[in-house]
Structures are given as structure tokens and as C-alpha cells.
Subunit: 296 residues, 2 copies
């Protein structure tokens, strides 16, 4: 399939360019390490600049382009999304939560800075996300999107149910609740926020909403597959850890092959939703394929 | 001093009325305990409805009135301030932070719900604060005020330095940094946000800014005095705990009597700033006195 290969190469260059722009923005928006309290700002920067793929910011920027906006208009929202996502990773890794020592191949925040400082670094990144949005045009509307996807009805609620579900018998409805809340809602919000930053109309926002919902679910199913099949070197963390912890995953319900098929089908549905958008939708289509075909 | 006595009684009634209004609003804004994830929502409500004085919301509402606004216009901001404040209490009490078992005479969140759930309840309340502000008129401007006062340059930064300072030699500059960041900035933000919600002009905002800065500092100095002099029954938590932990406090620097005089002087300065405001400033003046004369 030469077409597919071409798209994969192309989207990797697109992602690499956008990631560099996002990193420049994050470096500008985060307090300097020299600013007091220096260690707290070091901890915030440590986790932000720890090799993230910047998927949520890139989806936000690509969604903005698909709505006819310039990438720039959505950069505050993109940076806010990465601050929010990074806070969830720091807190999820804590000893009282998932108790992970490694993240992206590096020691987790609490291993480097201690538990109290890791909690405060996460709190500060969560707060910074809203400080950035407050400075964007459409700031209140963007903040409402992010808060709804992140709070007890979003990511935090999903993490709660994920912790509560460990060791329980796998159950389709519960796995879906966890996937939707812990992962899909924030990815969906990233797409919606890009559109909102670009001043998208209602039909366009509905398209981005559907696209984001489908790739959000596809991303988590693909993640479950990777956890079951990848190597620690590629993944930057222990593999098979979901099974060891008896975490409820899609793979534990239907097996690896069926999970792969489901994820690919979701990507198709996401791409089919990309109508009624006035700008370039090729990056979003390629991102949907990347999300289910990636190896990390 | 009959005048002073009259003001104290009057302000207690004022506070009691406002507190009841704030509690009605919080009850409406917080997710129901029956809503999934039920235990997470229970944990959020447990700490919110655990006997708080609602000082920050009341200052916000009184500041709104002083700027000629109706109390109602500022209610979203008032509720957001209490969600933010409560999140800081839950996280400060955690085993890896201050490791407190009691707060307002009740077991702390992590004692009741476990550490992971206490962290998530705090995270969710922090997020809810911005969700509420995003729905207010002036939402982006209010969110900017709250985020700046709460993040690594505000409350979280103050808590970081407070933890780092335990056991160190008392130092005036460090005590002031901790007081300003951990306590004063959020109280100051409460006053500014009330003004902003009421559409205050620049001179009025400057007055509220100065008033808030002075009572914010006075509050923390008075708090240090109470910790050194009160009884556990009155305070709802262990007394003398600052001294036992070798926490850096104003009392440890200058003693109880001088600290009392300093706090009273700050209240005077706060009241003197209440000019250029088009609405009723009597509640704010009485609140300044209450803050330094309170016994809990």
C-alpha cells in the first residue's frame, strides 16, 4: 500500500514540525527554572519536556486548520492541553495511584522531586492550563471545554473508576466508561478547542466533535494493544503492566486482533466525519491513521 | 467599646446570611453524590460542606457590593473561590504534605476516602473552580485572576516554600513570601474578583487590590496567633502544631503581642483604602476587623 506509506511519512513530518512549534510555545509559557520557587518550576518543566508526542496539541492545531484558522490562533489552547495532560500523568504515576517509576523511559516526577513536590507540580500545571486559556480569544469558552473534559465528569472521574476497577472482572460497559472519561474526552476536547479557537461554525464543530470522539476511543484501544504487545524499549515503560495489575482493558475483553480491528474501524468513522469543514482536513485524516497504526 | 461590639455582632449576622447563600450555590454547582463516580463526588462534597467559614466567597460578595454590583452577579466567582480554597486544604493535609488527620474538627479527606481519592477530589475541585468561572460574565478575566493567585506563582508556590522551610531558622523575608503566596494572594484575588464581577472601574479595583492585600496578610498573621494561643475545641484542630513542626510563622519571629498589633495595623490600612468605591463599604470594613479579632 504505497498510499498509506506516503501518508505515514508525511504525517510524521507534519507532527514533527508542529511538535517543535508547541515546544517553543511551552518554553515561553512556563515559568523559568530560575524563578522562585525554583525547584517547583524545575519539576513542572521536567515533566513537560520529557519526550511527549504532543498529540493533543497537534490535534488542536490541525483541528484549527481544518476550520480555516491559522495554527497560531490555537497555540494557547494547544499549550494548555499539554499542561493539562502532563498534570494527569504526574498524578496518575503517584505511589497512591498507579505507583509507576518510569514514564517515557525517564524516572517519574515523584521519583525525582518527591511526592509532595510532584503533587504540587501537577496542581500548578493544571492551574497554568487555565491561566493560558484565560489569555486566549474565546478564553471562557475554551476553559469550559477543558474543565468539563478534565474534572470529575472527565479525566479525574475516569482515573477514579480505573483505580476502583483494578482486580474486578472485565466488563464492557465499565471499560468503555474508563476509556471515554480517562482518555477520549480530553482528545475530543482538543479537537473541539482547535475549532473554537478558529471560530468554527456549528456544522464544523459537530464534525470535529464526532471526529474527536472516535479517535479518542481508538487511541485508548490502540494503547491497550501496545501495552499488551510492545517492547519496553519502544514503549519507554514496562509492557504487560496492565495484565499484571489486572487493569481492565479492551484487550482483556476481546483479545489483541479484534481490538486492532475495532480501533481501525473507529479511525475510518472519524475520517468519514470530516465533512463540512472549510479548511484542510488531510492532517486530521492522517492523524487518525497514525493513532491506530503507531508503534509507541 | 460599644461601637466595636455592635460591628462584631452585625458582621456575624452578615456573614451568616452570606454563608447560607454561598452554601445554596455550592450545593447547586457541585455534582450530586448520586452521579457517577459517586464516591468521588461524595469526597468533593465532604470537604466543601465540612464547616468552612466561607471567608473568601463572603469577601468576594462584599467586594462586589462595594463596587455597586448585586451579590448575585459575583456568586459564580464566590463558589469558585471556595472550590479552589478547599482543594488547597485537601492537598495540604495529605500524608506527603502536612499529614494532618483533622480539619475543622473532622477527619481529613484522605483519612475518610484514602489518599488517591483525596488527591482526585482536590484535582476535581480545582478544575470545577474554572468550570464555574467559565460560565460567568467576565469569565476569562476572572479565571486569569484566580489562576495567577493559585498556581506556582501563588498558593502552590507558597505551599512549596512552606514545606521546604520546615525546620529552618525563622527569617522575615521567607515568612512574608510564604504568607503572601500561600494565603494573601487568594484573599486579594477574592476581593478583586468581586469587583471585576461587578464591573468596577480602575480606581475601585485599585482600592480593592490594596484592601485585599492588607487583609490577606492580616489574616495569616492572625492565624499564626490563633495557632499559638487557642484551644483545640475552638480551633477544630491541634494547637501549637506550628511550633511542634518548627513551621516558620510571624509569631515565631516577633511573639504573640507584637503579631497582634501588626495584624490590627494592617486591618486599619485595609479600611483606609476603601475609598473610590461607589457601593456600600461597611461590610468590607467590618470584615477587616473580624479577620484580626476572630477567635477561630
Amino acid at each position: 500500500m504505497p498510499d498509506k506509506l506516503f501518508i505515514m511519512l508525511d504525517i510524521k513530518r507534519y507532527m514533527s514540525e508542529k511538535r517543535a512549534q508547541v515546544d517553543v510555545a511551552l518554553d515561553r509559557y512556563l515559568p523559568a527554572e530560575t524563578e522562585r520557587p525554583s525547584t517547583l518550576h524545575k519539576a513542572m518543566r521536567y515533566s513537560i519536556f520529557c519526550g511527549g508526542k504532543r498529540l493533543r496539541p497537534i490535534l488542536c492545531l490541525a483541528s484549527s486548520e481544518s476550520a480555516g484558522g491559522s495554527g497560531d490562533a490555537a497555540m494557547l489552547a494547544a499549550a494548555a492541553l499539554e499542561c493539562l495532560h502532563t498534570y494527569t500523568l504526574i498524578h496518575d504515576d503517584l505511589p497512591s495511584m498507579d505507583n509507576d517509576d518510569l514514564r517515557r523511559g525517564q524516572p517519574t516526577s515523584h521519583k525525582v522531586f518527591g511526592e509532595a513536590n510532584a503533587i504540587l507540580a501537577g496542581d500548578s500545571l493544571l492551574t497554568l492550563a487555565f491561566e493560558l486559556l484565560a489569555q486566549a480569544p474565546q478564553g471562557a469558552r475554551l476553559a469550559l471545554e477543558l474543565a468539563r473534559s478534565a474534572g470529575s465528569r472527565g479525566v479525574a472521574g475516569g482515573q477514579f473508576e480505573d483505580l476502583a476497577a483494578e482486580g474486578k472482572k472485565p466488563d464492557t460497559a465499565l471499560v468503555e466508561f474508563i476509556h471515554v472519561h480517562k482518555t477520549a474526552k480530553l482528545i475530543q476536547a482538543a479537537c473541539r478547542m482547535g475549532g473554537i479557537a478558529a471560530g468554527v461554525n456549528e456544522a464544523g464543530l459537530a464534525a470535529l466533535d464526532r471526529y474527536g470522539e472516535r479517535i479518542g476511543l481508538a487511541f485508548q484501544v490502540a494503547d491497550d494493544v501496545l501495552n499488551a504487545t510492545s517492547t519496553p524499549e519502544t514503549l519507554g515503560k514496562a509492557v504487560g503492566s496492565d495484565a499484571i495489575r489486572e487493569k481492565m482493558t479492551y484487550v482483556s475483553l476481546v483479545g489483541v486482533e479484534q481490538a486492532r480491528r475495532v480501533a481501525a474501524g473507529m479511525a475510518d468513522e472519524a475520517i468519514a466525519a470530516l465533512t463540512h469543514l472549510p479548511g484542510a482536513t488531510e492532517p486530521l485524516a492522517a492523524l487518525a491513521r497514525f493513532i491506530v497504526d503507531r508503534d509507541m
